[in-house]
C-alpha cells in the first residue's frame, strides 16, 4: 500500500511541477497542458539527425531520467514512505545527480549539433560553479543531524527547521539547486534565446518526452531535497505527513520556477565568479557557524 501511495504521489508531484512550469513560462494555467504536450510529442516524428552519435543520442535522455529518479529514491515523503533509506542518503542524492551532467554531455554531443554540444559543455561549466555549493551546505545539514540518512536529517529538525537554524546554508543550497536543475535564470544549457534550445534542440517525439520528463523529475528531486534538508520534510502541525511533504515540495518548485523568470539569464562568467568568490567563502563560513551552533546550542 505504501509503495503505491509513494509512486502515485511522485507521479502526481511530477505532473504538478510540469503544470507549474508551463504556467510560469506562458502565463496561462492549463491543468491539462502537460498531458496535451505529451500527446502531441507522442505523435511527433522521431527524427534522428544525420551523422549523430546514435548511442549517446539515445542514452542521454534516458540517463537523465534515471539519474533524477535515483536521486528521488532517498527522498522521504513521510516516515516509511521512502524507496530506500540509505545511511549515506544525502551523499547518494548528490552522487545520482552528478550523472545529470553526464547525461547532458551525452545528449548534447550525440545529435551532432553545435547548439546542443555547446549547451552540454556549458552545463559542465555550470557544474563547476554549483557543485561545491551543493556539497558544503549538505555537510552542515548532516553535521546537525549527525547522520547522512535523510530520515535522520528530517528528524533532526523537529525542534527548529534548518531554514531558521542555518539560513545561509538554505540560500546557498537553493541557488545551487536551481543551477543544478538548470531552471531560469540558470538555464544556460537549454536557453532558447542563446542556443535555440541547446541540448533539447535536436530532440523530437518520444526522446523529447523522456528528456522533458527527466527534467521535471530533476526539478522535483531538487525541490524535495530542499524540503528535506531545510524545510523539515514531512513535519507539520496536523494532518497526514505526506500531504505536508507534497505541499512544501510543490511550493518550493513553484518558487524556483517563477522566481527565476524575473531575472535575466545569468552569464556563465558571473555564475562562476559568484560561486567561487562569494559562494564558497560563505559556505565555509556556514560550516564554521553551524559547527559552533551545533556545539553551543544543540536544538
Amino acid at each position: 500500500m505504501s509503495s503505491f501511495v509513494l509512486i502515485a504521489s511522485l507521479i502526481f508531484a511530477t505532473y504538478g511541477v510540469a503544470v507549474i512550469e508551463e504556467w510560469v513560462s506562458t502565463n496561462r494555467l492549463r491543468l491539462a497542458g502537460p498531458l496535451i504536450s505529451t500527446l502531441r510529442l507522442l505523435g511527433q516524428e522521431n527524427i534522428l539527425p544525420r551523422k549523430s552519435d546514435r548511442l549517446f543520442f539515445e542514452v542521454g535522455p534516458v540517463l537523465l531520467l534515471i539519474a533524477a529518479l535515483l536521486s528521488l529514491a532517498v527522498i522521504p515523503l513521510a516516515p516509511g514512505l521512502i524507496v530506500t533509506d540509505l545511511a549515506t542518503g544525502a551523499l547518494f542524492f548528490n552522487a545520482a545527480l552528478a550523472y545529470v551532467l553526464v547525461a547532458m554531455i551525452m545528449a548534447g554531443w550525440g545529435p551532432d549539433g553545435a547548439y546542443g554540444m555547446i549547451g552540454g559543455w556549458r552545463f559542465l561549466g555550470q557544474l563547476i560553479a554549483y557543485a561545491m555549493l551543493v556539497v558544503m551546505p549538505i555537510t552542515t545539514v548532516a553535521m546537525r543531524a549527525e547522520s547522512l540518512s535523510t530520515i535522520d536529517i528530517v528528524n533532526s529538525q523537529e525542534m527548529l527547521w534548518n531554514i531558521a537554524y542555518q539560513p545561509l546554508g538554505f540560500l546557498l543550497f537553493l541557488f545551487a539547486g536551481m543551477a543544478m536543475a538548470f531552471v531560469p535564470p540558470f538555464d544556460l544549457p537549454v536557453a532558447s534565446g542563446e542556443l535555440a534550445g541547446g541540448v533539447e534542440a535536436e530532440y523530437t517525439g518520444v526522446r523529447l518526452i523522456i528528456f522533458r520528463l527527466g527534467r521535471m523529475v530533476l526539478i522535483l528531486s531538487v525541490s524535495s531535497a530542499i524540503v528535506v534538508f531545510y524545510l523539515g520534510g514531512w513535519l507539520g502541525p496536523f494532518g497526514p505527513d505526506w500531504s505536508w511533504s507534497m505541499i512544501k515540495i510543490l511550493g518550493v518548485a513553484a518558487l524556483m520556477l517563477s522566481g527565476g523568470r524575473m531575472l535575466p539569464r545569468i552569464r556563465e562568467a558571473t555564475l562562476l565568479a559568484w560561486s567561487w568568490k562569494l559562494g564558497i567563502p560563505l559556505a565555509l563560513a556556514n560550516i564554521f557557524l553551524v559547527g559552533v551552533l551545533v556545539l553551543v546550542v544543540p536544538l
Binding site: K51, D53, L55, F56, L86, A87, T88, L91, F92, N94, A95, A98, Y99, L101, V102, I105, M106, W109, D112, M117, W121, L124, L127, I128, A131, S147, L148, S149
Partner: protein
Amino acid sequence: MSVQVIFLLAFGLAAVWFGIVVFRTHSMVRSALALLFSQTAVGAMFLVMQAEFLGVLQIMMMATEMSIMAIFMVMFMMDPGGLGEMDMKHQRKLSLWAGIIAFGGASGLALFGDWGPIATQIPDAGEQVRLLGIELLGRSMLIFESAGLTILTAMIAATSIAVQPPHRPKETPDKSKEPYQVHNHGGAA
C-alpha cells in the same frame, strides 16, 4: 555462489569491459565516458561489498572528474562527433609492457599480500561512515591533510600559470586583432 558474488562478478566484468572500450572506440568522448562507466562499475563493486560510503563517493567523484577530462580531450584533441576515427592506442610496445608489469604487480599484491584477518562482521553503513570519519581525523590525518594541501598548491600554481597577465604584450602577433591595434606609437622623428 551467492547473489552478492554474482553481482560482484558482473560489475567487475563491466568495469573491465568498459576499460577495454576506452581503447577500442574511435571517439574521444566515448573513450572518456567509457572510462567513467568503468570507474562507476568499480563503485558499484564497492556497494556490492557493502562499503556503501566508498561506493557512493566513487560513483559521485568519477562523474565530474571524467566529464572534465572529456572536455579537455575534446578541446585539445579535436575530434568532434567522434567521426575522426581516431586511434586511442599509442606507443603500443611501451604501454603493452607497462600494462603487463602493472597487471602482474597488482595481481601479485592481491594474491600474496598480507590482508590481515578476514572480517566476519561487517559494520552497518552508518557505523562505517563514523569509523571512516574517525580514521580520517586520526591515524590518516597527516596523510590526507598533506595530500589535500599538495593538490591545492598544484591547483593554484596551475591556475596562475594559465592566467595570462593582462598587461604583458602577446608573444605571437595576432593577425585577427590587427585592425584594432594602434600603429603609430612613436610618431615622426
